[in-house]
């Protein structure tokens, strides 16, 4: 059988026969390989449409500028002091807001036929979801980096240096990974990407503002103060502030990791089940 060198748009029977004959079935892909491959799929999408990173860069920039200059003077007296307090918080907030997009992305994916193919593959069942969240983690890192760099330009000077900043960012991304399972569950339950967005932000907005990201809880009425103190987002914000300043509380970090693990343990199987049956 001869293989022509010039590509032709015609189907070549002989080539198809050959293509069919030459594939012994490889061993099944490992769970990790499958998930990483789906993560790679997410990266490819960013590569083809880099504009989608605008969401995760413009919003944080706006937050930093707005809070530093608009509210900084009023709340903390001077923009410099406030920046040191607020920047780790904005990092947390921006990254957590980005998790809502994971749910929107899953919901959009479901309207496409390719999901049927993924679901008909002999792979670890959560792989498409885990992979897509791993891909999203890259967005979280991008958002985080933009904030830190902008902060440095504006005068933010973290005591703990690069190591502290990286640790804070890593902790935030891990928490975001856990939290995003809630939004993927939502993404599978809701009918349209818009509904996911509305529901998602309706949840994440109050949770973020009722945390210590922007204000010291002592200034709040008692009931509110209690809530702000137990809000995991406050604990995460404390921990990342601590890590950047070099005085992190180990119990804060443990709680954050535990909450992320618990969210994953509950919502990952739920999401996987919904993904399989929807």
């Amino acid at each position: 059988m001869s293989v022509e060198t010039t590509p032709t748009p015609e189907i070549r029977d002989a080539a198809i026969q050959k293509a069919l004959a030459s594939t012994p079935r490889p061993p099944r892909a490992s769970a990790l390989d499958a998930a990483l491959t789906f993560g790679w799929r997410g990266m490819l999408k960013v590569k083809h449409v880099p504009e989608q990173l605008l969401d995760v860069t413009i919003t944080p920039v706006m937050f930093v500028l707005m809070f530093t200059y608009l509210f900084g003077g009023a709340i903390a007296g001077s923009t410099g002091d406030y920046l040191d307090y607020i920047l780790p918080g904005i990092l947390v907030m921006s990254v957590l807001f980005t998790t809502v997009y994971s749910g929107i992305a899953i919901n959009t994916d479901l309207t496409k036929g390719v999901v049927d193919r993924f679901r008909s593959l002999p792979i670890w069942r959560p792989a498409p979801l885990v992979g897509s969240l791993l891909g999203d983690s890259v967005r979280y890192v991008v958002a985080g980096t933009v904030i830190v760099v902008l902060g440095l330009i504006l005068g933010f000077r973290p005591e703990a240096g690069v190591g502290g900043v990286v640790a804070a960012m890593a902790l935030t991304v891990v928490f975001a990974f856990g939290l995003s399972w809630i939004f993927t569950t939502l993404g599978l339950l809701m009918r349209s990407p818009n509904a996911v967005m509305n529901a998602g932000f309706m949840g994440i907005f109050p949770l973020t503002f009722l945390s210590n990201v922007f204000v010291e809880p002592e200034t709040l009425p008692a009931g509110l103060e209690w809530f702000v103190n137990v809000n995991p987002i406050s604990i995460l914000a404390d921990a990342s502030r601590g890590l950047m300043e070099g005085n992190a509380d180990a119990s804060d970090i443990t709680i954050v990791l535990a909450v992320a693990a618990a969210l994953t343990a509950v919502f990952m199987p739920l999401t996987t089940r919904l993904y399989r049956t929807r």
Partner: protein, 326 residues
């Protein structure tokens, strides 16, 4: 790669039922498909073809009934089924936001190929299916025919023992349709069992060894294409005249040669049951000798509508259903 016993049944389904709310999409479907064959499931919009395929491919859980695919129960042994089958769905089951090559490499990796092997395999398939030139373009910019071919190629990254094809040529022009048919024939001759859903009797006739006709979620007829056509009436010669006034003459001539002439609503057209091309040619020659001028003619197989008319006494009615964009 073929199943060890080619005579064994590749699909055995009994009493499959699936409802969506009030709609009984599939209402007791039995199927038996021999290993190595091409089996056509023929039915109009909303008949339940896609729902049946989705149950067999383990994407939907049947409400009742059972099915074994390549010897594995679709509910109890879903993993084993998925490891041996591929699905080319009705909606494009490739990722439109990636390039053709990326789609194939992605699937290769997911199926366990190493990076290099997945790339090689992608190249091989892109060339065999005539999409090499478009390999680096995003699939959303592909033509319908290219997308379909890529979709089928994506099902073959690792050769499946059984391939589900859901309406592979709906919406394609005749040339693309022929290309897809060629692919299906090549696949079949290499030993892959194929379950083919279609709305076209001609497609099932061209490709399938056995056909089940389904309507309202039930199998209403089953057999080889020959048997089915015999029970339906095998085909018709359609003639349109240049001059409608000559119709009575034409009717007489055709009646004498072939019998059973039907007058069409178009005052210049008439048709007559006929399966044999030679006889049709003779009848046309008779018309010419008789001075009847023919504008055009065709020798066609019965349409799906005619099949349904013959099998059920009513034409295939379109189900009220939201068309899913492909």
């Amino acid at each position: 790669m073929t199943s060890p016993k080619p005579q064994a049944l590749a699909i055995e389904a009994e009493g499959l039922v699936k409802s969506f709310g009030e709609t009984k999409a599939v209402d007791g479907v039995d199927l038996s498909v021999r290993g190595g064959s091409v089996y056509g499931v023929l039915g109009p919009n909303g008949a339940g073809k896609t729902t049946t395929i989705r149950m067999l491919a383990t994407l939907l859980r049947p409400d009742a009934g059972s099915a074994r695919v390549l010897g594995h129960d679709v509910v109890e042994e879903g993993d084993a089924v998925r490891a041996a089958v591929s699905l080319t769905g009705q909606m494009a089951s490739v990722d439109e936001d990636l390039t053709g090559r990326e789609n194939l490499v992605l699937l290769g990796r997911l199926l366990g190929l190493k990076r290099g092997a997945a790339k090689e395999r992608a190249t091989e398939l892109l060339e065999a299916f005539g999409i090499a030139e478009a390999a680096a373009r995003l699939v959303k910019n592909y033509s319908g025919g290219m997308r379909r071919r890529l979709d089928i190629a994506a099902s073959l990254v690792v050769t499946p023992q059984l391939l589900f094809l859901d309406e592979p040529t709906t919406g394609l022009d005749p040339r693309s349709r022929n290309q897809v048919w060629d692919i299906i024939r090549a696949l079949s001759s290499s030993g892959t069992t194929i379950l083919l859903c279609t709305q076209y009797l001609e497609e099932a006739d061209q490709l399938a060894d056995g056909i089940a006709v389904i309507d309202h979620g039930r199998v209403i007829a089953e057999g080889t294409p020959g048997q089915l056509k015999a029970s339906v009436g095998s085909g018709a010669l359609h003639v349109r005249l240049l001059d409608p006034d000559q119709r009575p003459e034409a009717e007489q001539l055709l009646l004498r040669n072939l019998g059973g002439v039907k007058l069409e609503p178009d005052p210049a057209a008439l048709s007559v049951g006929c399966a044999d091309g030679n006889k049709a040619a003779e009848a046309l020659a008779e018309l010419a000798r008789g001075g009847v001028q023919v504008a055009d003619f065709s020798l066609g197989q019965p349409s799906l509508d005619e099949v349904f008319l013959a099998l059920t006494g009513h034409p295939a009615e379109e189900e009220e259903k939201e068309e899913q964009p492909a």
